[in-house]
């Protein structure tokens, strides 16, 4: 297995508030690492540190053996980190095609027809072909989430960061998305933050639970979701042995 991402001792705090605390983990190609944790556990902050939105205070980020810790966000994108945001971030006054073309042209570093056909293919892959000429600002939520994934794919990444892409979707829509992510898995390393636990359990090879920015437990989905710590802190179930 090729290791795509190695994070070593990552830390980030704002003043006295620690949002990422000494985190180390790895993701291999073809692997999906699920990240869970209560609100404020530092999940999105972790993504900000990984994609370069904010700089880590300490620690190292190694992408395909290359240290990218000190690169700005757009350069990390050139190196192969792509992110689908929790709240979709479309370019509202551009069409779906142009949105994906931006990703293929800049993050994907493609030119001319190569960029156009890459965008075209990705749009078909995520099922947005009917909307290809529509303005992104007018899309409904599922299509916005699809567009978010399409942009991340057109970036031709090594590492895909998915931030709660299933949030706010109906059961059927979540299943569509789970199938999509599963079909993507062989090509990338994926880190998926999600509150919808069954979506993660169905897709992730490993789960990592965060609490106050720190790693609580990491392991197979069954082991993590079944563990006492996660049940207490994340799911709010207190094992009352005395009762």
């Amino acid at each position: 297995m090729t290791i795509v991402l190695q994070a070593e001792g990552l830390a980030k705090s704002y003043g006295r508030i620690v949002v990422v605390d000494d985190l180390s983990f790895e993701v291999a190609r073809g692997e999906c690492l699920g990240v869970i944790g209560p609100n404020g556990a530092g999940k999105t902050s972790l993504f900000n540190v990984l994609d370069g939105g904010v700089r880590a205070d300490r620690g190292k980020i190694i992408l395909n053996g290359e240290d990218v810790t000190h690169l700005p966000r757009h350069k990390r994108s050139h190196k192969g980190i792509a992110r689908a945001y929790q709240v979709p971030q479309p370019f509202p006054d551009l069409t779906v095609f142009e949105n994906v073309l931006v990703a293929a042209s800049f993050a994907g570093r493609l030119h001319g027809h190569a960029a156009e056909s890459a965008a075209w293919e990705v749009i078909h892959r995520v099922g947005l072909q009917e909307r290809i000429r529509d303005l992104a600002g007018g899309l409904r939520l599922l299509d916005r989430k699809r567009l978010e994934v399409a942009k991340a794919l057109a970036a031709r990444p090594q590492l895909l960061l998915l931030d709660e892409v299933a949030g706010g979707l109906t059961e059927a829509e979540v299943n569509v998305l789970v199938d999509l992510v599963k079909s993507l898995k062989p090509d990338f390393g994926i880190i998926w933050i999600e509150h919808v636990a069954h979506a993660l359990a169905a897709t992730a090879d490993r789960l990592m639970a965060l609490h106050f920015g720190r790693k609580l437990i990491e392991g197979t989905p069954d082991a993590v979701l079944g563990s006492r710590e996660v049940r207490e802190i994340y799911l709010g179930i207190v094992d009352d042995a005395a009762a």
């Binding site: 757009h74 042209s105 800049f106 570093r109 030119h111 075209w120 942009k151």
Partner: protein
């Protein structure tokens, strides 16, 4: 530099502009012929219209396409004009030729101030631009080399044939106006154009998709300043005299803003409509004193309330018409054998 060239290279768009070269050719021929056909007064007015249009288009590039709202653009009008005057007076360059250097003066000024101003975001940038413009105005007013409060006079022009001043001004103005159209249309179909549109819509998403937001804005800022400076230099060729209060008059940016807001910010056609409205109103109410200013303000307010995207922008949004299409069309399904 190589990177800039790559960014300016043609985008994957596949719009055919078969009409555009023909239209441009006709416009250029008209411009060449105009001074021989049209009288002096009309020629001067035409020059002014063309220059104001080109300035509005440069302001549109920065505010409508790069998403940086500037209310200090008069600084580049003045910088270009003062640059031309100084070159002619202090270096003995022919004024008609010195005009060609004006964009470098205002462009350089923009490039130097960008690292400071770009630290400010949104409204802070807008105010920063205005403050910067005021600072430059005061400094120029205190500079003896630039004539201080008495300004500069383009004395070299006295030795030239007065019959040629208006035609040459007009040709320069026509060049600026047509050039601004070609530049904007070309830019928006290029890779840099796509980057700018993305940055304008969402700078966070743009940077996470590999766009160097700072550099894209920087290039747009410098181009906009350079174009505005060229227009400023051409404008002050006619009066052959410049004062700080005239070159750096905030009215410059008010006019650019009015034209873009009324016509449609972020569309190439909008400033054409806006310029027609502006000069139409100005000529119609030129004799009514201050009433025309009140009318201008009312028109701007009404347009903003009724048609927020401007006159052209609203037409475009409702009926999808565009004279100069810059949308990138997806490849047809046939290309892929489906």
């Amino acid at each position: 530099m190589a990177a800039v060239t790559t960014m300016l290279s043609r985008s994957p768009g596949r719009h055919h502009l078969l009409l555009m070269p023909a239209v441009l050719l006709v416009l250029a021929l008209c411009a060449v012929a105009a001074p021989f056909v049209v009288g002096e007064g009309l020629l001067r007015l035409s020059s002014e219209i063309l220059l104001i249009f080109a300035m509005a288009q440069m302001w549109n590039l920065l505010s409508g396409y790069a998403g940086l709202l500037s209310i200090g653009h008069q600084v580049f009008v003045g910088a270009g004009a003062y640059g031309m005057f100084a070159l002619s007076i202090h270096a003995g360059v022919n004024p008609y030729v010195a005009i060609a250097f004006a964009p470098f003066v205002s462009g350089l000024l923009a490039a130097l101030v960008a690292p400071i101003l770009f630290r400010l975001r949104d409204a802070y940038f807008t105010i920063g631009m205005w403050v910067f413009s005021e600072i430059v105005t005061i400094l120029v007013g205190k500079s003896n080399w630039l004539g201080g409060q008495n300004g500069l006079t383009l004395s070299a022009l006295r030795d030239m044939d007065p019959d040629w001043i208006s035609p040459i001004s007009f040709w320069w103005a026509a060049f600026a106006a047509i050039g601004s159209l070609v530049l904007l249309a070309g830019l928006m179909r290029s890779r840099l154009g796509l980057a700018l549109l993305a940055v304008r819509d969402n700078d966070v998403a743009a940077s996470s998709l590999g766009i160097d937001v700072w550099r894209s804005r920087f290039i747009a800022f410098v181009i906009s300043a350079a174009g505005t400076g060229l227009c400023g230099a051409i404008y002050f060729l006619g009066p052959a005299h410049i004062l700080p209060a005239a070159g750096f008059d905030p009215n410059w940016v008010v006019i650019m803003l009015f034209i873009c807001v009324v016509g449609g910010l972020g569309t190439i056609e909008g400033p054409i409509v806006g310029t027609i409205v502006y000069f139409g109103l100005r000529q119609a109410f030129a004799t009514s004193g201050n009433w025309y200013l009140i009318l201008m303000g009312s028109v701007a307010v009404v347009v903003m309330l009724v048609a927020r995207k401007g006159l052209w922008g609203t037409l475009h949004a409702r009926y999808g018409i565009s004279l100069i299409p810059i949308r990138r069309e997806p490849p047809s399904d046939k290309t892929f054998g489906i």
